[in-house]
């Protein structure tokens, strides 16, 4: 495993651990759900302005988790694939040697 992959894996694990710890802390502090502040402000703004917020695809909280996960997986794999093309030293050496 090269240095970058190791660092990226450590960063992923650390970030996931941080999110889990924050989530657990939030539940422990008595917050029943930790929904997005965007949604909360949207709701408050809609109530204050007598509006009804609508969405192209209305998802419940579990649906949002699934949707965000799928989007993150697609985006993450795309970014990772391109990252390797740009930053992988071995493949770039190959490109330079052939170029």
């Amino acid at each position: 495993m090269d240095k970058f992959t190791k660092n990226a894996l450590i960063a992923c694990v650390a970030l996931s651990a941080l999110i889990i710890v924050f989530f657990y802390a939030g539940i422990t502090l008595g917050h029943a759900d930790l929904s997005g502040s965007d949604d909360k402000v949207n709701e408050n703004a809609a109530n204050a302005g007598n509006k009804i917020p609508t969405q192209l695809i209305a998802l419940d909280q579990n649906g949002e988790y699934v949707g965000f996960t799928i989007l993150s997986i697609i985006g993450g794999f795309t970014a990772g694939y391109i990252w390797v093309i740009i930053f992988d030293e071995e493949s770039n050496k190959g490109v330079e040697a052939h170029g």
Binding site: L29, S37, V41
Partner: protein, 223 residues
């Protein structure tokens, strides 16, 4: 900052779309020119686009406030590819995010203005200004991430207030901002850290990438 459909008044939806389209048009022209001049731009744009898509749906819980929020990623993107192309990238990311119930279709213009234009330009401006004063790459990029993130939400609160309560603009601007700030401030600090680390990494590994955004302050490797 993902304002849903059905909240903003039609005239404001149209105005934000017009402004966003103006920036997107300039961004498309810049992208086409840069890709023609330097084909290396294309994978960098794709990378930055995918990163913005993921980062702006990253919901990180903030335990004290009992809610979660996400960073923007657009200040980091603006440092790498320049602020105008980020208006295009952000609009594409926002379009895909509507399919997971995040933001609205009619509000893509408004959301792109806050995240892809204000977030990108304030972040990029901060980066350029701090680099002119010889601030290190980590701190300059980090501050760009922080400022871009904060200004994105300041703009969203303004968009809601000016559309729904123009008669008491500053009062409601403050109210909507207070809805965002407690959760967003820790996230903005996190955006500071990862923007600083990623830009420093790119500057060390691929310093030539830092000129893709026509960056006036070429970083010195190893700062």
């Amino acid at each position: 900052m993902h304002i849903s459909d059905g909240i903003l008044e039609p005239q404001w939806i149209i105005l934000w779309w017009i402004i966003a389209i103006a920036f997107i048009t300039v961004g498309v022209v810049q992208i086409r020119r840069r890709v023609k001049d330097n084909p290396q731009c294309l994978p960098a744009l794709a990378l930055v686009g995918a990163a913005v898509l993921v980062i702006s749906v990253w919901h990180i819980p903030v335990p004290v406030t009992g809610s979660s929020s996400h960073p923007c990623g657009t200040p980091m993107a603006a440092i790498i590819v320049g602020p105008f192309p980020v208006a295009v990238i952000s609009a594409i990311a926002l379009f895909f995010q509507t399919f997971v119930g995040h933001g609205g279709l009619t509000t893509i213009g408004a959301n792109d203005f806050s995240m892809g234009i204000v977030g990108a330009f304030t972040g990029f401006g901060t980066w350029v200004a701090l680099r002119k004063f010889r601030v290190s790459i980590f701190w300059a990029a980090g501050m760009a991430g922080f400022i871009g993130d904060v200004f994105t939400y300041v703009t969203s609160a303004f968009q809601l207030a000016v559309s729904l309560h123009p008669e008491a603009l500053f009062h409601y601007w403050g109210i909507f901002l207070l809805g965002y700030v407690p959760t967003q401030l820790p996230i903005a600090i996190m955006e500071f850290v990862f923007t600083g680390l990623i830009i420093r990494y790119i500057a060390e590994m691929r310093p030539e990438m830092m000129t893709l955004g026509r960056n006036p302050i070429r970083p010195t490797v190893g700062e």
